[in-house]
Every structure is written in C-alpha cells, then in structure tokens.
C-alpha cells in the first residue's frame, strides 16, 4: 500500500498538472468562441517540441534545470504563436472553424512526428541526458497549490479584467462586439496567446515530467482527454481545477485495471470511455449559472457584415 502511494502521489501530480493546464488553456480559447478542434494535434506538437528543444538546449548549454526550463518556455511561446495564428485565422476570414481545426490537428500530428524524430537524431549523435522534472513526496502539495493558483489567476483574468470580459464577449456575440468598435480578431489573437501558453506548458510537461522521454506517437489522444476535462469542468477554471483531480486519477489508474483481470487492451481504452461519459453527463445536466453555459457563438463562422 505504501509503495503504491509512493508511486501514485507524484504520478498523479504530474498528470494533474498536464491535464489541468491544457484544459484551462483550451477553456480560454473556447470562451472566445473558437472551437478548439486543433487541441490534440497541437498538444502532440508541443510535447514533441519540448523534447527537441530540451535535447538541443542540453547540447548547447549543458543538461540541467536551465535547459529544461528554457525548453519549457520555448515550447510555451511556440505553441502560443501557433494558437494565436489559429484563432486569428478563424476570425479574420469567414472560414469553417471545424475544417481549420482538423487541419491544424493533422499538421500538428505530422510536424510533431518530424520534430520529435529530429530530437531523436540529435540524441543519437550526442547521447546527451535531459534533466527531467521529478517531484518528491514533500513537494507534491506545492504542485497542487501552484495549479490552484493558476486556475485562480486565469479565473481573475477571465472574469475580473477587461481582457477577460472582451474574450467572453467575442465568444458570445462577435458581430455585435465588432459593431461597437472592437477588433474581434485581435481579442481572439490574445486569447490564442494566453490559451496557447497554457496548452504549450501542458504539452511540454507531458514530455518533461509525466513521461520523461519521447517516443513515436507521443501525446496522441491526450489532448482530447484534456479537452474532455475542460468540457466536464463547464469551461470554468475553478471547476476544472476541481474535476481534473478525478479525471487525472482515472486516467492514471484505469489502464492498470488489467491487474484485476480486465484485458490490457480494454483497460487502455477505459480513459476514453470515461471522457465520453463525462462529456455526456455534463451536457445533460442543467446549469444554473450563466458563467457555466457554453459560449453562444462557439464554432460559428464569423462574418462582420450581415444583411439587416
């Protein structure tokens, strides 16, 4: 039992951080009315980028905390830029958000494979060691506090600052907001930056902490798992921080159901089942507070001019 806890507590912390940050990032983007179908692709890409950056920086500087921290930072910046392109593109032109989202998903998968393999090549040439993140039992509590802090910060930005009001306003009724002289594309660009930073850190920590390495197909489907957390948390940061505990626990533990007799192939699939069930559950529950409702214009093509 003690051994199990020794393993579980830090593992759970790493999963919790990854899914919470990614889910909150996705929330920021979807609150601005942009359907985040790109999430799985860009999550894969950012987790591969983190690996490539980490290898490269470990060669350039030397393996250590600095190289890891820098690669985390660079991944966050790169993902933020990609997401801001994504959100702005979906707004400047009256495109189908679904099609553009799936495009970015595919490109993310493809480039993720390219980038990750580049990291591998560098590794095979230089045999450099990456300083992966790990936490001791004692610092786990600190990790959770940090996440609560992140959730509260994003909550404050979204609900107490003008920036957040703008993001939610363009998610509700972009045409109306554009008519009062607000540049909708710019607001969504900012939401892409903010959300992208969080998803980028999430993806990077998946490689640098949760897995501690990179292999083909790294991160695949974990973007969707985080997306499910964001929906199950009603796209509301404090709720996400809360429900993410249960999801992380499920995602970490369920694949080990094989030890109680479930076939391994089926236990691997259980997190997906949990995600689907959660999304269904959330959509049939009645939401009393307006803040918990889906953004009204989520996924809708934006075109400023419309015949009266």
């Amino acid at each position: 039992m003690i051994e199990l806890l020794d393993w579980l507590i830090p593992t759970l912390a790493s999963a919790y951080v990854v899914y919470t940050l990614t889910a909150i990032g996705s929330t920021v983007i979807e609150r601005s009315g942009i359907l985040n179908l790109a999430i799985d692709g860009l999550f894969v890409l950012s987790s591969s980028l983190a690996y490539a950056y980490a290898i490269y920086l470990s060669i350039l500087l030397q393996p250590g905390v600095l190289a890891t921290a820098l690669s985390l930072l660079l991944t966050a910046v790169t993902t933020a830029l990609l997401y801001s392109i994504y959100t702005a593109l979906n707004t400047v032109l009256p495109v189908s958000q679904g099609a553009v989202g799936l495009s970015f998903m595919f490109i993310g998968y493809g480039l993720g494979a390219v980038v990750g393999n580049l990291g591998r090549v560098l590794f095979s040439l230089f045999r450099v060691r990456i300083e992966y993140i790990s936490v001791t039992q004692n610092s786990v509590v600190f990790t959770y506090l940090l996440m609560v802090l992140a959730a509260v910060l994003v909550y404050l930005v979204l609900y107490k600052l003008k920036l957040g009001v703008l993001i939610r306003a363009v998610g509700e009724d972009p045409r109306l907001v554009s008519q009062i002289g607000i540049n909708v594309a710019y607001v969504r660009f900012l939401s892409g930056l903010l959300g992208g930073v969080l998803i980028g850190i999430g993806g990077a920590l998946f490689t640098l902490w949760r897995v501690g390495g990179w292999s083909q197909g790294q991160g695949l489907s974990h973007g969707w798992l985080a997306y499910a957390v964001s929906i199950a948390g009603w796209r509301y940061p404090p709720v996400i921080a809360l429900v993410s505990v249960f999801f992380s626990l499920a995602y970490v533990l369920l694949p080990y159901l094989q030890s109680v007799g479930l076939p391994i192939e089926i236990s691997i699939a259980t997190p997906y089942v949990v995600s689907i069930v959660a999304m269904v559950f959330v959509s049939i529950t009645h939401r009393r507070s307006v803040a918990l409702l889906d953004p009204k214009s989520l996924g809708k093509t934006f075109f400023r001019e419309e015949q009266a």
């Binding site: 179908l37 799985d40 692709g41 400047v92 032109l93 009256p94 495109v95 189908s96 679904g98 099609a99 553009v100 799936l102 495009s103 970015f104 998903m105 595919f106 490109i107 993310g108 998968y109 493809g110 480039l111 993720g112 494979a113 390219v114 980038v115 393999n117 580049l118 591998r120 090549v121 083909q216 489907s221 969707w224 997306y227 499910a228 929906i231 076939p263 192939e265 089926i266 691997i268 699939a269 997906y272 089942v273 995600s275 689907i276 999304m279 269904v280 959509s283 049939i284 075109f303 400023r304 001019e305 015949q307």
Partner: protein, 376 residues
Amino acid sequence: MVKVSIVVTKRSRKSIATSTPVILLLSLLLGLVASYTLIWTFSKLDPISFFSTFYQTLISYTGLLEPLLFLTILGTAISIAFYGSFWNVGAEGQYVFGMLGAIYLVMFSPVSEVFLNGDSAANGVAKLLAVISGGLLGLLWSLIPGALKAYTRVSEVPVMLLMNYIAYSISDYLTAGPWKGRYTYGYIRTDMIPESSRLTVISGLEVLRYEVVIATIAVFAIAYLLIEYTRLGLEIKVLGSNPVALKSSGRNEKKTIILVSAISGFIAGLAGALRLLGYDYRLLYNIGDGKTGFYGYTAILVAWLSFKDLRFVIPSAIIVSALSSFGYRMQMFLKELLPPGVSAFAFSQIFIGTTLVVYSLARITKEYSVKLVVRE
C-alpha cells in the same frame, strides 16, 4: 503608418475563378507548396525531388486505384454525414468495426461453415452477408455518437475521435484474445480467412477486386440518388443547413440525425469489410499503428474537398489518393533527404492538413470577396 487590412464582403455574383474544380486544383497546388515549405524547414529536401516524386505518384495510376476505391466509399460515407452536419470524424473506427463484422461472420459465426464446404453460389451469398455484417457493425458504432448527439446534444467530434481509439482497442482485444489465431508463427493476429471467402482478384489489374469495384459504384450511385431525389436526402440536407427549418416544418430532427449517422456508419463499415475480405484477410495486433492505412482519417479530407457536392467525391478522392500515396513514395525514394524516423503517414498528415487549410481558405471565395487593402 501603413496599415494592411483584410476586407471581406458578400459576393453578389459567381465567377469561374471560384468554381469548385478551380478551387480544388488550387488547394492541391498551394497545399503542396505549403507542405514542402514545412518539411523543407526540417530537412534537406529540394523542390525538384519533391515535386517530381509527386508527379511520379500521379502517373503511377495503378498504385492510386486501390486507395481511390476505398477513399471513394469512405468519402461518400463521410460526405453524406457532412450534408447533415454530422461531422463524421469517426469513420476510422467504423471502418475497423466493419472489419470485425466481416471476420466474425466468415470465421466465428455459423455461416463460417459455408466457406469450408459450400458451393460457389452459397459462398457468394455468404460473402455478401459478411460485407453486410461489416456494414451493420459500422452502423452500430456510428449510432452511438449519433444517438448521443440527438438526445444529449454532445458534440460528435471529440466523442468520435475518442471512439476511434476504443475501436482499435476492441479490435486488439479480439485479435489477442478470443479470436487469436493458431497458425501465426508466434505473432499475435488472427488466422487467415479461408480462400473461398476472399474477394475476386481482377486478372491484369491485380490491385483490384471485382466486388470492391462494384460496391464502390453501387454505393456512390445509391448515395447520389438518396441525396438528390428522396425525401430523406432532402431532410438530411435541411438538417445540415438549417435544423430549425427542419423542425418547424414538422420533421423529427433527432430521427434524422440518427438516420444520417446510421447510413454513414453503414457505408464506412462496408469499406472495412471489403478491405478485410479483399486485401487484409486477417486482423493484426496494434491495428492503430497504421495497419488500417488510416483510410478513415484520410477520407475526411475527401469529404471536405467535395463539401456538400457528391459529384466531386471522385475527383477529390483522386487528389487525396495521390497525397496519401505520395507520403509512402517519398519515404521510399527520398529517404536520405528526409528527417529520419518519420513515418510515411506523418508526411501524409502534413499534406492532408495543409491542403485542407488552404482549401478552407480558398472556399470562402465562393461566397465572399476578400480584398487586401493598404492604407496610410
């Protein structure tokens, strides 16, 4: 200060420059250029090798025929769903379920007896049953997100993408468990299906099977009739363009969503069954590692390129077949110029993604005029 702004207005008349064929070709061309740029950033790939290899892919038409047929069937399946705004990104899972349905009927059901000692007529009927059983399993798998969308309004996109993984898992479970073969030289896979249950190779064009060609034509023709001439087709189109109008004219929106998901899933399942009976002959373990050829995903691009116009499914399928074969061909002939270790499908994904994004941008010119304006 110079400001560049993009001005979008509704277009009042049509022009040839924005007709579907032009947009398709433009998307292919610009998509390739964009893909090349992306890959070039990470490799030593020169444009001449890249584009000449693509040209080689195009003219090796026999290599394209096989993906073309499967992408036409799957593309039709997804297109029908798109008409009804049922974003079937789960064709990959339905395709796998189609394989399961077919192999079950051929090897593990009472019908399997027929293939061991039946006459050729009985074999033919049993084969047809196997294909239909694949279709039905595809239908079943697609009905889940369909019913969830209809009754709980859960978005089908994330649900289906997650369900694809579950489908892989179920297939792997069966392959490693109850359906595990005895004559597999230690590999985890099912046994081969009996010769008598396999589809008929066309002599002279060994990459083709008679039944697959016939099924492709039949599926496409029936789908076209359905969409253009029947009430159900009309209701699917209204569901996709304005569900409120569908409801207020007294039709059942939920029923239509479920029907469209069922039809789409059935056709995708057929494709899986045909694949198994005509080409694969068995299930392999870790089917999600590319053993499906990822046709179910690639076909999403076919459906987008022919968006709500079935006539363009085949031209789009040609383009997409070329793009997906291109990945494998590049891997084969340009290996030393490419970043090492990257799978052919990863390149295909880049082609699919860039072509789709270029296409989505180009397509808006059908309805809108976009101008770049420079001001001081």
